[in-house]
Symmetry: C3
Subunit: 262 residues, 3 copies
Amino acid sequence: LKSVITLTTDFGLTDPYVAAMKGVIISICPFAYIIDITHDVPKFDVRGGAYLLYTATRYFPPGCIHVAIVDPGVGTPRRAIAIKTRKSIYVGPDNGVLSIATQHEGVEKVVEITERKYMMASISSTFHGRDIFAPVAAYLATGTPVEALGVEVNDYVKIAPSNVKVEEGMIKGEVWWIDGFGNIVTNIDNWLADKLKLGDTITVRVNTKQYKALFASTYGNAAPGTLLLIPGSGGLLEIAVNLGNAAKLLNAKVGDTVEIKR
Amino acid sequence: LKSVITLTTDFGLTDPYVAAMKGVIISICPFAYIIDITHDVPKFDVRGGAYLLYTATRYFPPGCIHVAIVDPGVGTPRRAIAIKTRKSIYVGPDNGVLSIATQHEGVEKVVEITERKYMMASISSTFHGRDIFAPVAAYLATGTPVEALGVEVNDYVKIAPSNVKVEEGMIKGEVWWIDGFGNIVTNIDNWLADKLKLGDTITVRVNTKQYKALFASTYGNAAPGTLLLIPGSGGLLEIAVNLGNAAKLLNAKVGDTVEIKR
Amino acid sequence: LKSVITLTTDFGLTDPYVAAMKGVIISICPFAYIIDITHDVPKFDVRGGAYLLYTATRYFPPGCIHVAIVDPGVGTPRRAIAIKTRKSIYVGPDNGVLSIATQHEGVEKVVEITERKYMMASISSTFHGRDIFAPVAAYLATGTPVEALGVEVNDYVKIAPSNVKVEEGMIKGEVWWIDGFGNIVTNIDNWLADKLKLGDTITVRVNTKQYKALFASTYGNAAPGTLLLIPGSGGLLEIAVNLGNAAKLLNAKVGDTVEIKR
């Protein structure tokens, strides 16, 4: 039986950090099937990491072990935790990076990781990915139960729910992520736009500027360069430009306010 | 037995898209051996994607499933296809991205992918990589025959053969790819230069400017900074600079005309 | 039994080069477990590649095959070698890229790779990664002994030991690597700073400028923006900024001199 371990970090792929984690993992669990989710979370961006982790792990089968490390507080008293959900086990720092994915799956148990025998013999103060999280994930993959890692705790850090307001003819939210195509992913669920019809021209405000946009199901449904509002594949409304880069065109960045008006 | 699935996309590795595809694949085919060819095809560059796919898959063993997604028309009526060659099965949008690799391997059968049971239950309009191509590849990896995916079709989109002219003492072609070292890969087969001798000084024109270059077998055969014409490892002539970046030096870009004169 | 092959190159992940190597490997050894260490070694930077290789492979289990290719001399008379250490086998060009990792593991035998039957039938002059090093690694993974690859040699290229001086109250070294967080990794072993106490304010000179820095165990132990000297997780002293980029702040680059004074 193959155990899947996924990795999500802000370490990048240039440095030896991710590879060191993989070396640690296969030293403990030689049959682990390691899948990179991404190592390009913007440095220290816990909220971005939480988004990426959630958006990817939804599509993984049950029984996976998901490690997520965006950890500006490494080596300080912030806790290391493992969260057992109805579907998976998540491992990482207790700073909110695990909170969105785990809440969607349904949290069953949270354990503070304290048991030294599942860590490296020597633990650095700056690289818990290699010294704590990788070995813990590998031991979980070999069948170690979550309960063995330490004591159960009742609280863990949650990212504040994003602020979405629905008013008559208007939805207010914010930019949660900008993808590599320049698509602006909002924090507004697709279904909140269920009164819009495909083909409607609507008004989109990003920060202080407003624009006309076409409500469309996909990019290629309009002429190149057309500004679009699209029910995104991740369940969230996206502002996009066919064959173009919406974020550059609208000068949008993560955290900007978004208003959608009929 | 392990089934190899390769992935070639313009999705990048920062976003959760590639990971979502991998989650879908291992949900259906837990023993799949997934190999990334590249996820850095320039956005929407079907021709570049076709080049990268062909150049890499030549070196894979028979029986692999190759998924390639550069898909500006996702969600429009462009077809999804699977192409069975003498060696492999290719899966992707019918826009030419599969055409070079498959023609080199020898096309045996082309099927339009329509059978819903090999797709995700819910299909987005903007992410067929996750909802159609990944599950189709995974089902193929479990042994589903290509024929089960839909009806056979007789036509598929081919990228126009690249324009190479050979005249007395002169070869004309174009820039097909610029690699990360700045090497300018042309669309001119190495064997077309078989009248040149190693050590010859030849004339290379890129767009409107012409340069003297040394015909050499490898980069280190000349002083640092020397402009070189090299029979490339992918079978195509390359313009290179020893320990330098030829594309920057010559200000070359994909599609530029190239002339080589004795 | 699964054979682990790691890959370290300066090829990047955009081009088809790494994928071609993987295709060659699984053609010969279908059960190889391939792990990327990094493909973002700065182009032609043998010393940087040696650092990354060493820092990562320390954490891999015994019995792995490590391929490292930073090879500006490809196709020239520089040798191809395999080095058997007490723990692993390393494969690559004989230009020093393998020397740090192998010396740390303990060199047992060095073989010049000359046996054509373990290479591709046709060998290009510019891509020995695909035509020599990948197939050699794959044959090693199938159980071919190092001795079969060619004749034993007594010498191989070593990177000169880095220049570290310890004087009364002062340590002099240089910048060896700058990581993706902007942390400045020196070539000075952590233990050389064993007379410093956590919390001490010390003086750091990088090139001609000097700065006050806090000697700390981890980034988050000081206010954001604080300049820190940290015993690094890789065993080497690092200059860092909490939640900031030390290399940018100090305008540091690889090779710069570093002085640390109490």
